[in-house]
């Protein structure tokens, strides 16, 4: 199967999944307690006002009608209008998505560096202090709630040491032309070093928090798979040819260890986004995660639905990208 038809198949297969997700989220939102109209107007508003608002939002129609109306809109690419802000949901998501993307990429890089190098070196020195510390680290970090880790880092670096800001993406006094929405990239392409430093400082704490959390799983996967690969015949054969230990470890063992890791990584990415929701809330990071939490609080149905569909699409796209990278690493997938 060619890569192109493979990608098309994957996207087509994603459609029914998104439909099911949409049905679930649509009805669950309307079953759980809480009323968007009351959330907006407050409990003390007169009944006529409440009824008028309900009619305005279309919430007085039967649920089934509401659902098909919504489905029709989504099929046309219209995610509706936020009941809280009256802005189109799509625009709101578009504005906030770069923040989430920047945070997850930064966190992912941190996790990759920790996972690959510590994992590989731990595997090479199996049962030695470096390996034992890696195992303890990954269990410890995995067991810690993300927001607690975030709070502790805020307390240490933000409050006691005062090295880093504890929230936001950019200090109000710093000006920056926004082009891509990825502020680190924007400040680089406009040669705005002051902004670059400011953005980086803001990114560090949430990035490290989320990065550490993912690194724990990642480190374990790299370490275990590399240990397995180091026991393989081709590693012994490479050793018998006199290759240097670094070449054997990174060129042969770690490279092969990545093949199974890639297949798991697509699923891990969903976990990463869940972690992003908590991290964004802890660090008041203006991304999709904190957006979702805010909208849930106000029962902003169209916005919640939109954000969830967006997350689902994002996970599908990332897992397709990971499959493509996997094909590049493992030739057996290609042939």
């Amino acid at each position: 199967m060619s890569l192109k038809s493979y990608i098309i198949t994957r996207i087509i297969l994603a459609l029914p999944m998104i439909l099911v997700l949409l049905i679930l989220i649509f009805f669950i939102l309307r079953i759980i307690p809480g009323d968007p109209v009351l959330a907006i107007l407050g409990g003390k508003a007169p009944v006529e006002v409440i009824e008028a608002k309900r009619h305005e939002l279309g919430l007085d129609k039967p649920i089934i009608i509401q659902f098909f109306d919504y489905l029709g809109d989504v099929a046309k690419g219209d995610l509706g209008v936020s009941t809280l802000t009256n802005r189109p949901v799509w625009n709101e998501i578009k504005d906030r998505f770069p923040a989430t993307l920047e945070l997850t990429i930064f966190a992912f890089i941190i996790a990759l560096v920790i996972g690959i190098f510590w994992g590989a070196e731990a595997a090479w020195r199996k049962d030695k202090p470096l390996d034992i510390s890696a195992r303890v680290y990954s269990i410890f970090i995995y067991a810690i709630p993300v927001f607690w880790l975030g709070l502790m880092l805020q307390l240490l670096f933000g409050i006691y040491l005062r090295w880093l800001p504890v929230g936001g993406r950019l200090s109000p006094r710093v000006s920056l032309d926004i082009k891509t929405g990825l502020l680190l990239l924007d400040s680089l392409i406009t040669w705005n070093w002051e902004a670059f430093w400011d953005v980086l400082k803001h990114l560090l704490l949430p990035g490290i928090t989320l990065g550490l959390v993912i690194s724990s799983i990642f480190l374990r996967m790299v370490r275990n798979n590399t240990v397995l690969m180091l026991s393989k015949d081709f590693v012994k054969a490479a050793k018998a040819r006199g290759l240097k230990p670094r070449v054997i470890l990174y060129g042969h063992a770690v490279r092969n260890a990545f093949v199974p890791i890639f297949t798991i990584m697509g699923m891990q990415f969903a976990l990463l986004l869940a972690g992003a929701v908590l991290t964004e809330t802890t660090f008041s990071w203006p991304g999709i995660g904190s957006y979702l939490v805010l909208k849930i609080k106000y029962r902003d149905f169209p916005a919640i639905q939109g954000a969830i569909i967006f997350f689902a699409l994002f996970v599908v796209i990332i897992s397709i990208i990971i499959d493509i990278v996997n094909a590049l690493v493992d030739p057996r997938v290609r042939y």
């Binding site: 015949d233 081709f234 040819r241 006199g242 230990p245 042969h252 092969n256 030739p331 057996r332």
Partner: protein, 319 residues
């Protein structure tokens, strides 16, 4: 003398104590010679083969001497022995299906090997030498840009052989090179190995449990049992005039294709646990000819009719 091992001991360290996989053996290979090393599984053959290159677990204990040309191997550290591996001593492994990295192109395996031992080599030169050695083993050079999983088992073993020969080693250790291949391919590979050994003017240690294979190829055969070499003889002597009871039983247990005699013969019992080998002769628990002394004292090596035998049956016999 190309290679010599004297009083060599290779012990594995385990929680139960040392496993004496190779215990006080003397072994030598002359220039241009093929020496066969035979015995059951678990007798220390592969340990010895891999021990020469010191690619056993890092906790393995070595004592005695091992010399390749005039380089002493036992005392070398990891960095020094690495320069011997592949360069002076090539190794061919048992299972070509798993001994080639599946995510790397064949050429990459050759290039990295060449580059490690000859850092100044150019890309073109490496390509040329890879092509040449692949041609020698009967693989079209243009296939070097393929992956190992695109080759059949026999072809992969050819690649392994080429990979062992690309640096022109003076000694090749073939550790059961045909065990995982079918009979016809086995014969082809053995023929190829024999031709290449002559052409490259190398010596070879051929580890196998297939007595038929060694008989054709080896100049000298060493029979290993439970970490000891129990008999050392020329191929002819070993076949027509075996001395040690173990060798005799081993030869009897070669399966034949005679329709009237299809019963499989074997030696009752198992090789002993090498972390706690029997006192005296290690074969004594399974030996049909054992005497009292066999279970008490380790037999010396004596020379009988041109063969060296480690057995009490011959210690009273004059040379």
């Amino acid at each position: 003398m190309i290679f010599e091992a004297k009083d060599l001991r290779i012990y594995y360290k385990t929680k139960k104590g040392y496993v004496k996989a190779v215990d006080n053996i003397n072994f030598s290979v002359e220039k241009g010679q093929t020496v066969g090393l035979v015995g059951e599984s678990g007798c220390g053959k592969s340990t010895f083969g891999q021990g020469i290159l010191k690619i056993l677990p890092p906790t393995t204990y070595y004592s005695g001497n091992m010399r390749i040309e005039d380089i002493e191997l036992v005392g070398l550290n990891e960095n020094e022995i690495r320069k011997i591996r592949g360069k002076k001593i090539g190794m061919i492994f048992q299972d070509p299906m798993t001994s080639l990295n599946p995510v790397m192109k064949i050429e990459k395996l050759f290039f990295e090997t060449l580059k490690t031992h000859e850092p100044d080599i150019t890309e073109e030169e490496a390509r040329e030498r890879t092509a040449k050695v692949l041609e020698k083993v009967g693989i079209e050079p243009k296939r070097m840009s393929e992956y190992s999983f695109q080759f059949s088992g026999g072809m992969r073993q050819r690649v392994m052989i080429a990979l062992a020969l690309v640096l022109n080693p003076i000694l090749v250790i073939a550790d059961e090179p045909t065990t995982s291949l079918d009979v016809i391919v086995q014969a082809q590979i053995m023929k190829l190995l024999n031709e290449l050994r002559k052409e490259y003017d190398m010596s070879m240690i051929l580890i196998t449990h297939d007595l038929g294979v060694v008989a054709e190829m080896a100049d000298k055969i060493c029979v290993m049992y439970a970490g000891h070499i129990v008999e050392e003889a020329s191929s002819e002597n070993l076949y027509y005039n075996p001395k040690h009871p173990y060798t005799k039983l081993l030869l009897k247990s070669i399966p034949n294709t005679d329709i009237n005699d299809l019963e499989l013969k074997y030696i009752p019992g198992f090789p002993p646990d090498l972390s706690n080998p029997p006192v005296g002769c290690r074969f004594s628990p399974r030996c049909p000819f054992k005497k009292e002394i066999c279970e008490v004292k380790e037999p010396p090596i004596v020379e009988v009719e041109g063969s060296k035998v480690k057995c009490w049956l011959y210690s009273g016999v004059e040379k």
